[in-house]
Amino acid sequence: MEMGRVMIMAEAAGINIEKMKRDTMKISVASGKGGTGKTTISVNLALSMDNAMLIDCDVEEPNCHLFFKEPMERVREIGIPIPRFDLEKCDRCGKCAEFCQYNAIAIIKNKLLFFEELCHGCGGCKIICPNDAVSETEHVLGIIEKGGMEEMELYHGLLKIGEPFGVPIIKAVKELASPDKNIIFDSPPGTACPAVEAMSDSDFVILVTEPTPFGLHDLKLAVDVVRNIGTPFGVVINRAGIGDNRVEIFCEEDGIPLLATIPNDLDIAKLYSKGIPIVEGIPEFKQEFIKIYDKIKEIVKTQGVE
């Protein structure tokens, strides 16, 4: 059958064509709990794979760059459009305030109040205004920077201090993902909007956890979120040996693939503290990360057939 027809049939069957066309993968590395080792997994996995690109989506505190010698270079600023009100044209009808889901606009006693930090930049007030009194101006939220190495580029977003809202920067930095490369997205911790944004549109999510009660508790929250997103996922237990085996029991009972177990090891900790990737300091470890990638490929392939 010719390729064009295959594509049309696949599309009709609800199969993601964009994903079929490429043989590269987009993998998000996430966790419910912070400090479990997302960055360690992200950096080492990216360095162990062929043709990889690393995107640090933890815009409040990006730290993948700490493992590379080259300084980060500024790429561009990222902002959201925020409204500017022409008070001559505005008749204080209040339609914009009523529309705004984030309560960023208030009309009180014929005065218009705008709370800039509450605005999500949706542009709804401009559309809804019957008097054409709203124009838009850019509000800078942060920047995107580039670094890494020649054979593996790293991009990260950096939220400005005092800005409460990083999702637009995460969206912007994700757009830099090259379709010809295997992409690792290092996600922010937690299960709120920034983490969800960093996990969305990926082919696979790696949930990194530690074998402690806190690790297990937050892993369960993250599992609920990933199941809602509907992306295949697996678990990596980091610092194995510090707690108990309840994470393993949970994964087994819940049918969640355990991709790897990384021991709580002094040599690994020493490398980390010096900003040296494990696979650089202990080259044999590269095999472990290649195994993780192979397992992911296998899972994505079998789930794609179902």
């Binding site: 305030a97 705004c100 889901q101 984030y102 309560n103 960023a104 208030a106 009309i107 009180i108 006693k109 005065k111 109040l113 709370f115 509450l118």
Partner: protein, 124 residues
């Protein structure tokens, strides 16, 4: 005169809710006649901007004085625009606070007395 009080319940025996934007009810009362109505606070569960929204709501009700526990910066700005007098630091029973108000014992706030998100139960 109408005063609004942030309340956990619907009558004058209720406890003051010390949060403004996220209080459960507003008790709107005329201190001279003690006639009152309880209005549930539509902004209590807003994702953000609860303070300014609550200020708009009580302004529409014609309130001139607010008696509450704490007021954040956005809420204060909105209350100021509405020309509503803000008396903070209240806790205890609604009825007792009205008496204190009549005796002139409540303190007037000239600015926000807590930071943003103070009424969000430990979440920041």
């Amino acid at each position: 005169m109408k005063i609004a009080m942030t309340s956990k319940g619907k009558d004058l025996e209720s406890e003051v809710d010390t949060r403004f934007g996220r209080c459960v009810y507003f008790i709107i009362v005329d201190p001279d006649t003690m006639e009152f109505e309880a209005v549930s606070n539509e902004s209590a569960n807003a994702s953000g901007g609860a303070g300014p929204q609550a200020a708009q709501a009580i302004s529409k009700k014609g309130v001139e004085v607010l008696i509450t526990g704490n007021v954040g910066p956005n809420a204060y700005q909105a209350l100021e625009a509405a020309g509503i007098r803000v008396l903070t630091g209240s806790n205890g029973i609604i009825k007792d606070m009205i008496q204190k108000f009549k005796n002139g014992e409540l303190e007037e706030a000239n600015s926000a007395n807590v930071g943003s998100h103070a009424g969000m139960g430990g979440r920041r």
